[in-house]
Symmetry: C2
Amino acid sequence: MRLYVVVITLILGNSFCSFAQQTRKPMLTPGGQPILTPAGTPVFEPSSTASAPLPYANIAQLDSAFMQKTYGEAAKRIIQHALKDSLAYTRLQYMCDTFGSRFSGSPGLERAIDWLLQTMKADGHENVRGEDVKVPAWVRGEESCVMVSPRPYTMSMLGLGGSVATPPGGITSEVLVVRDFAELTRRAAEAKGKIVLFNAPFTQYRATVRYRSEGAVRAAEVGAVASLVRSVASYSMRSPHTGGMRYQDSIVKIPHAALSTEDADIIARMTERGEKVKVCLTMNAQTLPDAVSRNVIAELKGREKPEEIVVMGGHIDSWDVGTGALDDAGGCYATWKALQILKELGLRPRRTLRLALWTNEENGLRGGAEYANRHQNEKHILAFESDGGIFAPEGFAFTGAPELYKTYRAAATLLHPVQSANVKVGGGGADISPLIAQSVPQMNIEVEGSKYFWFHHTHADTPDKIDPLDLNKCAAAIAVMMYIAADLP
Amino acid sequence: MRLYVVVITLILGNSFCSFAQQTRKPMLTPGGQPILTPAGTPVFEPSSTASAPLPYANIAQLDSAFMQKTYGEAAKRIIQHALKDSLAYTRLQYMCDTFGSRFSGSPGLERAIDWLLQTMKADGHENVRGEDVKVPAWVRGEESCVMVSPRPYTMSMLGLGGSVATPPGGITSEVLVVRDFAELTRRAAEAKGKIVLFNAPFTQYRATVRYRSEGAVRAAEVGAVASLVRSVASYSMRSPHTGGMRYQDSIVKIPHAALSTEDADIIARMTERGEKVKVCLTMNAQTLPDAVSRNVIAELKGREKPEEIVVMGGHIDSWDVGTGALDDAGGCYATWKALQILKELGLRPRRTLRLALWTNEENGLRGGAEYANRHQNEKHILAFESDGGIFAPEGFAFTGAPELYKTYRAAATLLHPVQSANVKVGGGGADISPLIAQSVPQMNIEVEGSKYFWFHHTHADTPDKIDPLDLNKCAAAIAVMMYIAADLP
């Protein structure tokens, strides 16, 4: 349970526990599956509190005065350059419009990757390449959830990623509404043969997503024939939210889907009035054989220590609804633009700055696992991810040695012009989490994310939800921080 | 055109021109059709500036001191009583959940009306009855709008109310995107055989709704085979908005539908990039023979002048998507609760206070027209409507003689406790607009409506969008104002 919270925390990237708190257990995907290396062995969390040797010399002297003197001018140039055009936003729009959603296993994702590789080569970036990753290929198919009684009503739903199908005619049964697992336990005797609806109100993602991740297992344990969850959403305009879920081998696999909060509410109110609610859930989802996708890589080779690497990126895959503009084309284009700015300004750091756009974050985390495995013999001095949406930047979050935290805080003092001078404790990201096993320090950008769970995993995650100025500011903050991290003496 | 603006303004109820500005022209529905009496003759706007004789004696003395002295205690009691339970909200939820959308011509609407009549009789209201109204019966049927090229993509759409169907296989054609009618005129030569998309950004409802109302006519005039509009929405989570539209007898009738703003944007960006966008629009909408619906009436009979009437209400019908909680179950239940409060407190005014829940506001305004016709020999001293959604109340708007305006402003000074002490010039409502021809003064409640066009005519118009406290405050403000209007000497 605690581990699960840690992993969710990583995904949120906002209060990630320090290495010292962790024990040697397999790391889990957002859906709760163990993260596997391509060889099929689990990725473990680090077994000790040891972190990597500090990468910088004279680290105590790397204070804000040093940063101002050494990088003040570069930071100014970067920020100015970042704000002068909207090419990153234009490309994000183009990618989302042209290739649609970028779901693991889909042709759309691979076409988007082809185009990214081609444009980054044309831009003149170094070592541009795709690195193959085997990814799951779940296909949604036709699906619906229709109220049969007390009145016919077609609800707004999305099957959850990885769910099994229903029989062809669907599953029709009475709904048992519970607010949490404790209520399900109390009412276990009522669940047999029913469809359980977990109607947990949104509090925080990490708390509420449990019903999406674990709901099918917990409902099946007490004899339910299918399970539904109230969408994990902080706001709704009858918008269903998909997302990852998991099964357990020992427990029968039942279909699992999300309803819009409005439709969960209707069912809940009807049952509170003493009405019996029957629904027909129909899903013909399939899990096809694994497909080949790619992590997208480009570099700015280090001028002194090219073998030392700062890796930064987002994930190029999305769910199969919407076009994944916030989740996570924004992260991809903020980090792409950071690399582009440094290249255009001729700012080549001492160490190599690598852009990695990981694949299959959403329903497998295979891209992040494959990256950690393939590059395990390289020396990563920092791993950075942007995967909390692109909104107004507010700074960074960092997990690693206290001396490094102090250093990056000092670097961030150059970021007042883009409102990013704050560095919180506890940073990370799903795709860089497998690098924790190699004791690589973790960082993410922090943004004003109060609307993130309005759009997360919905049809409404589209480019209009991103303000181009926010994207430029995020890119500026990332470019300055990554340049300094890769360049410090 | 000006008339049209007047009618739309009535619907918005926020800046209705005074009688003096109007000329003798037929009044139009929101869709732009003439409003007809049941005999089939048009309802005309008033031909002169004459307004009805003032209904109150010694009107100059009806100032705020008078109101405080005469009605201060009653207002306090009403407000306290209004805030003490949430029965109105509970009934609103029940009605929306149980009967679903309440579209003209649908069994759901008539079942909701049966239930309303039954509960109002059980509550002990006076003269509870349904008054028959013949209403149009348009049925949406299956519909879709799918991008065929440059990539296959199913868009988020809703056919517009009253639209004709496409042929069974749909209409597939290239899209011509224009921002306004002027651009369509400039590019008329390009429109022949195409599907025109009016992609007008939302400014104000009255300005933007023109493309929904008139788009099919204007597109057909230049040879288009179908027309699409960007949804009339001030915010979107890929939410299409339906609504009324009109044809002209002399112009070929082409299918007309709304896209979510996100999908209109995708098409617009693609065409701006020089891509040809082809879509397939399929609609099998039908207009069935007129059906019978009912205006719902209940009264609190006047104790001195029962033949003089203050009528208040909202419209009981909704569009066929969502459950019309804001549009306009909220208006119905705010006015129902106002009547209920006065009854429960034993506050019987001098004149009759009549609750009217009009039918068919959305796609015909036949309920309002029939009410004006059937009750034309009665003496209405004020007509009030709530049809701008239920949000935090901000006061009232009024159209009528300046002396009456002053009187109602004085009455509103008792409404500071529910933040409703303001009375603006220019009030009205679609259903009470036919009473303008009888020179009946018009009033509506004003609310903090900044989110109204987020939900208007969408699947997301559901009870959760209303705060029960706002409903109670609106009811309190309406009860006080209507009581005073009906009771003044």
